[in-house]
Symmetry: C2
């Protein structure tokens, strides 16, 4: 199978590595806006060739993977579908679905497209961040599959089962709601925590000296790129604002308990938070 990957960053590059590792595809063509990243992806062996003409790259593939930030995704996916023939399959790997699916809802090739979100990533980006095994054992969400052709869905199911990933089916609205809760809010809190500590702790050497594993893990996502995350927050704005308001409320409640020295109340809240142990062992 020939695969064209549009966007040779963390996710596109990791997917190329995983598909090749499992013998699911043999030839990989890359499309990449940054010449530096394109060259690097070739050096790293993520793809076998770079193609600068989008339509030509699409025509040469059995499967097209669009793996660009969400603002570019909304612009690029319709162009990819314009060039897609009836035997080809197109997937995205994007973190929001509502805006994207609305943008291609009326496209004549909508059936060839399957909306995919692998729930895996790191705080790094670009081709050097691509990692073999990134998706192993993780969940992949397939959205609104009733709008995709059955053979396209079957191919996608076969590939992601083989990586191996756990398949989960959600409609786009449910996907965007749940990812706001379980992924997007974590990034907001981590950015805010980094800003807090950078503001309060003027002695950077002290941060380096004193940062334990706990702090490092809480602030890790604050290394994530704004080019990726601002479009996600933009496209999922109402859900993110809703969960962010709840988070502000919870933080303010903890603050008030501490301010008025209600340590029994604080203990109860922490015991309640500890419930996450049962869900994420």
């Amino acid at each position: 199978m020939n695969v064209t990957i549009i966007g040779l960053g963390l996710i596109g590059g990791s997917l190329a590595l995983s598909l090749r590792q499992h013998g699911l595809a043999q030839h990989f063509i890359g499309v990449e806006a940054s010449p530096v990243h394109a060259r690097r992806a070739l050096e790293l062996g993520l793809v076998d060739a770079i193609e600068t003409d989008l339509a030509a790259a699409v025509r040469r593939a059995d499967l097209v993977v669009v793996a660009v930030p969400m603002d570019a995704m909304v612009a690029v996916l319709p162009l990819v579908l314009d060039a897609t023939a009836p035997h080809q399959v197109v997937i995205d790997v994007g973190s929001t679905k509502g805006t994207l699916l609305a943008a291609v809802a009326a496209h004549s090739r909508r059936g060839r497209f399957v909306a995919v979100h692998p729930m895996a990533g790191t705080e790094y980006s670009g081709p050097d961040a691509a990692t073999q095994g990134l998706f192993d054992g993780k969940t992949v969400v397939l959205c609104d599959t009733e709008h995709s052709d059955p053979d396209a869905v079957q191919l996608v199911e076969k590939l992601f089962h083989a990586l191996p990933m756990r398949l989960l089916y959600l409609d786009a609205a449910a996907h965007d709601l749940h990812t706001a809760y379980v992924s997007h809010i974590s990034h907001i809190t981590s950015f805010a925590l980094a800003l807090t500590v950078l503001e309060k702790e003027k002695e950077e050497q002290r941060i380096f000296d004193l940062a334990s594993g706990g702090f490092a893990s809480t602030v890790r996502l604050a290394k994530s790129s704004p080019a990726m995350w601002v479009p996600i927050f933009r496209q999922n704005r109402l859900n993110v604002l809703d969960v962010l308001d709840e988070h502000l409320h919870q933080l303010q409640h903890l603050r008030d308990l501490l301010a008025r020295e209600d340590y029994d109340g604080l203990t109860q809240q922490i015991q309640q938070a500890n419930h996450i142990r049962k869900i994420l062992p």
Copy 2:
């Protein structure tokens, strides 16, 4: 060297394992309020014997390590010093220092005590959480060493250098300020994030299905025990409130930028947060 460990949890147990592994001490006596934990610590080989009489356990040691939650620490440390002879050395491993050092400032054996905070831990507690190598390469803070006898400080320096750990010297007030910034606030944000997601996401299976590594690392500290953390927040209350107010301010600012769709402003804030990359590579 004989070591008595008072409190056979994550930190006390891990320190016993590390001291033994590096040949720094041969015989370990444990004092532990929970009979279940005491028995388990023996089974795990964290200590060679359990002693129920505190003063007797102190008398049998060259080095006494007090590794109990901070509320118990303030009560137990004076009793330990009461039983300490002039050739013995006592350390704590506590996360706050101001209250504790004030509690023993006038004690006749104050010089035998060295205030120690190894900047290492996990979200787990109890003897089963003890891990060999927990302290390797981490920072250990020594506080107000000018109030300790030089030979006691030298013994502590020798032991922690050998683990090996990086030694950092701070006065108690600076310690409590910097740990509020770099450790305590992370726990507050993580507890609040868990409460947020548990409140918004009523479908627990969805959390399990969709939680990626990013969410798991941000919420990991929310598994931490209230028995350990409420006394820390209590003893470091003013510093924690100060940094928590800054954090609420930063989160509210991100919220306002998103609410009024100021994506350039949001990008700038994330770029500023990304600065943490240079400090924590």
